[in-house]
Symmetry: C2
Subunit: 359 residues, 2 copies
DNA sequence: AATTAGCACTCTCACCGCGAGAGTGCTAAA
DNA sequence: TTTAGCACTCTCGCGGTGAGAGTGCTAATT
């Protein structure tokens, strides 16, 4: 398969740019006029014919301009796109906003989703940082009433899980605190598997509680991603390809369905190296709901500790350069933020053999 | 203003029912045919004319059937609607689902949103239970690295807030635990105002921490509602009145904008008695974004302790009977659930004069 | 050999007119 | 008070039509 000539690549780029701009099929004369090309429309037409032949463009009907195909977008994204870096001022402004609200992970997630949606003018999604393997950091038991106890579980990485336990018999707060404290010191930094192996270290009340802890931690492990934050859903509705709201529905449905979305994220983003940016164009044959859409996905996190994913979803006709640069930027920004916040925890080896600085 | 005759009410009801069913203007002949009325279309026509005169109906153009006006819906909802109770089997099935996942508030919220959306075939929203006035239940401080400390704040009602503090100098875990313990015992059950009045009880590290606690609690108080759970957004997109996605965008935008939504909830639901169900039709002149929509809103909670709101948003042409019954049912179900879970806390008077059962 | 001008051809889309159909209001009779 | 009858109005779907945009092909040009 011969590669395209430079001029063909150039023209393909122009067509894609123009189509992204106008959302209407682009013709040869239009192209030479708008970009002051020093060739005639006939020449362009010939090249367009080649590109159509190769499957990078298509015509909606015999006598219309050309529209990029999925293949066309893919070729463009993988080989022709040039990085459109975010202006420094924008980067600084965004960073500033994040450092304003220091250390509030939930706020960060919302802000990240908001920034992504705003900058890309598309729908955005961000998942909260999630431990690759949950490891215990701190356990707290709070007596409520009678046999009811509020269990608060802090994972290495800062994720908090809560749950209400019903004990067999009422237990005082002091006894609960003591049990929690013992479990914390005994199992600090260990994952569910390791705890299970060492569970004979405790008995009685503590053993009962430990079962709940294990159950919760295993549940955390079974989920591939943290809570999902969405924003800018309405952006995508304003795109002309979604005037027939039926197509829009299918795409939004995907975002509403946490399991589907997590599946998608797990398969694409988490499977790849962190830091990189994946571009899914037209569902890639796998995701029927996204036939009309593209996603630009990335991941962030503190290596070996927590990971999260983030990305934007928009029409296939989206400004990929901009999208990729904003996703990449947010990805590194969030990585910095969570790494910075959790730097201490990265010292905890997964074998749990690090001393808890305990008095 | 004379009231309507029985027959006029009857016909208005029929028109509304039929319009909800078909989404097309309904004419006199159609009405007599479909409902086997024992009067002629001419008679119906006369009554329709009266109802139009009164402002309960309107015709899209001179020679079309009638469509209910906002006023028409309001009259219907406030005076004509008859309770369509949920079938017992459905109620039991829903309850069962909730009791399956005992004591996981977050799951309840998601399930509630899902059930509301599913049963009403519209968009739903549920806010997490939120204390009317935050009162301290438990404080935990967890050393992370150097001067960094994870603060976990449990409010009466079970709401958990976390935050990372940066102390002036490193402090060991034991000292932190002790400080947290002292603050918990001293200020258990008190609200921000009361704590502020008594803040001279502590000094040094504890005083510093208490400032953070107060800040966080005051922030909680300043927010009118908990986190918002949405579901079924795509349902509303499939309604025929939203094929022109512009109108749909405006409505969904409202749901995406937490501040606007909280404002709306605060003004309508929280201002009224709990348990009741409010119906907002066509934005009621205040909410421009909802011109085409209606909302059925309710609240739930444990009296004096926590409240949350829930509701559904759909086209004005929605099945109000069904909507109201499902909202009412979910409202009481959630009230039961949270009351049951938090029963202990209701013993805590707002003056904080209840002993913490401490060893 | 590559490019370009010229041209015939194709297809969409916006516009128009028209007739069917649904629904109305009015009047007069029951 | 209700109803049958009727003339009237307005929408909506239909086919036809012409402008316009864009194409592919061919022959001339560089």
């Amino acid at each position: 398969m011969n590669d395209l000539t430079e001029r063909q690549k150039f023209i393909l780029t122009l067509v894609i740019h123009e189509y992204i701009r106008t959302a209407t099929p682009v013709g040869s004369q239009h192209l030479v006029a708008r970009y002051n090309l020093d060739m005639s429309s006939a020449t362009v037409r010939n090249e367009l014919a080649v590109l159509t032949e190769r499957g990078y463009l298509r015509q909606p009907h015999t006598s219309a301009g050309r529209v990029p195909t999925e293949e066309g977008y893919r070729y463009f994204v993988s080989r022709l796109i040039q990085a459109t870096e975010l202006p420094d001022s924008t980067r600084r402004m965004i960073s500033h906003q994040f450092y304003q609200m220091r250390h509030d992970v939930e706020q960060w997630m919302r802000l990240a989703a908001s920034v992504l949606a705003h900058q890309s003018r598309a729908a955005s999604l961000v998942t909260a940082p999630h431990p690759e393997k949950a490891r215990l950091k701190h356990l707290e038991l709070i007596a409520t009433r009678g046999r009811q106890v509020l269990m608060v579980l802090v994972m290495v990485g800062g994720e908090i899980h809560q749950r209400i336990l019903i004990l067999n018999e009422p237990v005082g707060q002091d006894q609960l605190s003591q049990a929690a404290h013992r479990i914390t010191t005994l199992y600090y930094g260990k994952d569910a598997e390791q705890i299970r192996a060492l569970r004979s270290l405790v008995e009685g009340l503590e053993a009962d509680v430990l079962e709940w802890v294990l159950e919760e931690m295993e549940q955390v492990d079974s989920v591939v991603a943290g809570e999902i934050y969405l924003d800018g859903l309405t952006n995508v509705l304003s795109e002309p390809e979604f005037t027939t709201s039926d197509e829009a529905r299918r795409a939004l449905k995907l975002l509403e369905e946490p399991t589907l979305l997590q599946d998608l994220l797990a398969r694409t983003v988490l499977a790849h190296a962190p830091g990189g940016v994946q571009v899914l164009i037209g569902g890639e044959g796998t995701w029927e709901e996204l036939r009309q859409c593209s996603m630009v996905l990335g991941s962030y996190g503190a290596p070996g500790l927590v990971v999260g994913t983030l990305g934007i979803l928009g029409p296939m006709r989206m400004s990929y350069g901009r999208a990729i640069s904003i996703v990449r930027f947010m990805s590194s920004l969030l990585s910095d933020l969570v790494s910075e916040t959790l730097m201490d925890d990265s010292a905890i080896k997964s074998d749990g053999e690090v001393n808890h600085e305990e008095g």
